[in-house]
């Protein structure tokens, strides 16, 4: 982290003039706030595993690609739910807007260049996120749940009103997506798609990581912890919430865009309640508010869904429901909560 060194110097300057050297307590405080954003070697694990999966399961890359997309989608929800405490049941709205931006650009304007289409999707989802967030984020709790849910249903129904444009519930099949950077063709086994999605996820993941470790991210934690106190210390709470909601919408939009590009097909089903609820379940399984919970939760959900659907195509949701019930009963903070508790116990065990 190159930026910490000048920061330390800057921090040290005023105290040395005041007290003739930084006190140990101040140094500790600065180290505490600085160390939090330092990378731990543990953080390489998911990325190493993702690359290993590419070589170990070369014939499962279509599934792998969809999983990576869901990780990105869950990450965008974690930013608002886990860090800012915004509870929403309409996050599929932004996924859907992103997916349809790609589909409409490709089908109506012949715009199949993937990277610019991703950026356009992010922008479109951000606009919808900003507008709906500005209106809805005055509310909290149950009201917000209902309002976000109905916004997504409304978007779906608007899509349904214009079947000539959106394809209605039949969707838009056969999207023509140009080769990546004009070079890399998409193969039948999604090898290119997998690496493409992994690269996009990597970039956005570290963007989100940077945001949650910033002073702005600290303010989000404050809003999550105690909104009354945030108002009392003069925080522009609504503005902060709208800002983070817009960013999360843009990221969800990119996830939706990748979904449309890698399937070359999109239907209004992307706006389904199941999509909003599914991403919430992923986060609950993995553990909200820790970034890597999105990773773990999405992978668990996707693998389980894949496995259960093969076992029992009609009742796979039962298995996920059961797992969710157990998570809520015995591991409220998800897999990562369990891991953290285990680590604490182990540390206490060793003197």
């Amino acid at each position: 982290m190159a930026e910490t060194n000048p920061a330390m110097a800057e921090a040290a300057a005023p105290s040395s003039s005041a007290t003739g050297g930084m006190s140990a307590q101040r140094a500790r405080a600065i180290a505490f706030m600085t160390n939090r954003h330092h990378l731990s070697w543990l953080e390489t694990i998911p990325w190493v595993l993702a690359i290993a999966a590419y070589f170990i399961f070369p014939d499962r890359m279509t599934f792998g690609t969809q999983t990576l997309i869901m990780v990105l989608f869950a990450l965008s929800l974690d930013l608002i739910l886990g860090f800012a405490g915004i509870v929403t049941l309409g996050h599929a709205a932004f996924f859907g807007v992103g997916a349809y931006t790609v589909a409409l650009l490709a089908s109506r304007y012949g715009w199949g260049e993937p990277i610019t289409a991703l950026l356009a999707s992010a922008a479109a989802a951000a606009v919808v996120g900003f507008a709906s967030g500005w209106l809805l984020l005055r509310y909290r709790g149950l009201s917000l749940l209902v309002l976000t849910l109905s916004t997504t249903i409304m978007l779906q129904e608007i899509g349904n009103l214009f079947p000539t444009i959106t394809g209605g519930y039949d969707g838009i099949p056969g999207l023509q997506i140009s080769p990546l950077f004009g070079v890399f063709q998409y193969d039948l086994y999604s090898h290119t798609n997998y690496l493409y999605c992994l690269a996009v996820l990597f970039v956005l993941f570290f963007m989100v990581r940077r945001i949650v470790n910033s002073p702005f991210g600290e303010a989000l934690a404050g809003i999550r912890e105690n909104v009354a106190r945030m108002h009392a210390i003069g925080s522009p709470v609504h503005g902060r919430l709208v800002a983070v909601y817009t960013i999360a919408a843009a990221i969800a939009g990119v996830a939706g865009a990748l979904f449309a590009q890698t399937n070359a097909y999109v239907t209004l089903g992307v706006f389904d309640f199941e999509n909003s609820a599914g991403v919430m379940v992923m986060l609950a399984l993995g553990g909200a508010g820790r970034l890597y919970g999105a990773f773990a939760g999405a992978v668990i959900y996707m693998v389980l869904q894949d496995y259960l659907a093969k076992m029992s195509p009609a009742f796979w949701q039962f298995g996920i429901g059961l797992l969710l019930v157990f998570t809520v009963m015995f591991a409220r903070r998800g897999l990562f909560g369990v891991l953290e508790d285990a680590r604490r116990l182990l540390r206490r065990g060793t003197p």
């Binding site: 982290m1 930026e3 910490t4 920061a7 330390m8 800057e10 921090a11 040290a12 005023p14 105290s15 006190s23 307590q25 101040r26 500790r28 405080a29 600065i30 505490f32 706030m33 600085t34 160390n35 939090r36 954003h37 940077r210 945001i211 470790n213 910033s214 002073p215 702005f216 991210g217 600290e218 303010a219 934690a221 404050g222 912890e225 105690n226 009354a228 106190r229 945030m230 108002h231 009392a232 210390i233 003069g234 925080s235 522009p236 709470v237 902060r240 800002a243």
Partner: protein, 255 residues
């Protein structure tokens, strides 16, 4: 000299219920003003009206002569009104340091930055530690607030309010809920606050009130019963009647 804070003819109704009735109150710069009255007199409501948590039905709130009645709570806070809450309102899952970091970061707008690590705001952390050192909280800086004993949490309340660098500070029963063996720590802090800050304190302990306040306002049923110097208030038979009456009520209710 314009008053630091002025309340003019403030009314607040919840439907037919009048919780604040024609309250006038002036805090000069550096004021030490106590707001007393029986339970349910509307003292906390008045604090909520001053800070903008509630909007008055009619009347005005002026800060340094400027009408702030229409401003949001956050905007009033940014202009220099800080408060502590009767029941702690802290970021319980965050460290003491982060609690202060937020108060300072929001005041200086450092919290607008989202592309820079929180730890790089050295000036914010430094200032947080200065406040914590002055309240002897520096040893607890890296502890989670919810792990602190209640008395120390009350000090964090005050530290946050001071980190806002207020011109007007409203203390809503700062020692409430703290065991009497520790409450002197909080009252010492309150007694040693910057003499330039105008302070309004709500307090039930009359010893504290008479030690601290240079002016007293007695609120009864949402209206000002009387205002004046401590010796005037203590000699006022109406105040005695209200307080003894309220005490007698409480005795019977509990008995």
């Amino acid at each position: 000299m314009t008053a630091a804070l002025e309340i003019r003819e403030l009314h607040k109704n919840f439907g037919a219920l009048q919780v604040t009735r024609d309250v006038n109150l002036t805090l000069d710069r550096g004021a030490r003003h106590a707001l007393i009255g029986p339970n349910g007199a509307g003292k906390t409501t008045l604090v909520n009206l001053i800070t903008g948590v509630l909007k008055p039905t009619s009347g005005k709130v002026l800060l340094d002569g400027e009408d702030i009645t229409a401003l949001s709570q956050a905007k009033r806070s940014r202009r220099g009104i800080a408060r502590t809450f009767q029941i702690n309102q802290l970021f319980r899952g965050l460290t003491v340091l982060e609690n202060l970091y937020l108060a300072i970061g929001e005041r200086t707008r450092a919290c607008n930055r989202l592309w820079r690590p929180a730890g790089a705001e050295g000036a914010v952390i430094e200032e947080a530690m200065v406040h914590l050192e002055s309240l002897k909280l520096a040893d607890d800086a890296l502890k989670l607030v919810r792990e602190l004993p209640y008395g120390r949490q009350r000090l964090v309340e005050i530290a946050i309010a001071l980190a806002q660098r207020p011109r007007v500070l409203l203390l809503d029963e700062p020692a409430a809920g703290v065991p009497s063996s520790e409450s002197h720590l909080i009252l010492d802090v309150v007694g040693a606050l910057d003499p330039d800050i105008a302070i309004l304190i709500i307090e039930h302990d009359m010893d504290v009130v008479f030690r601290f306040a240079k002016q007293i306002t007695v609120l009864v049923a949402g209206a000002v019963l009387t205002q004046g110097l401590p010796q005037e208030i203590i000699a006022d038979p109406r105040v005695r009647a209200v307080y003894l009456g309220a005490e007698a009520d409480r005795e019977t209710r509990h008995g």
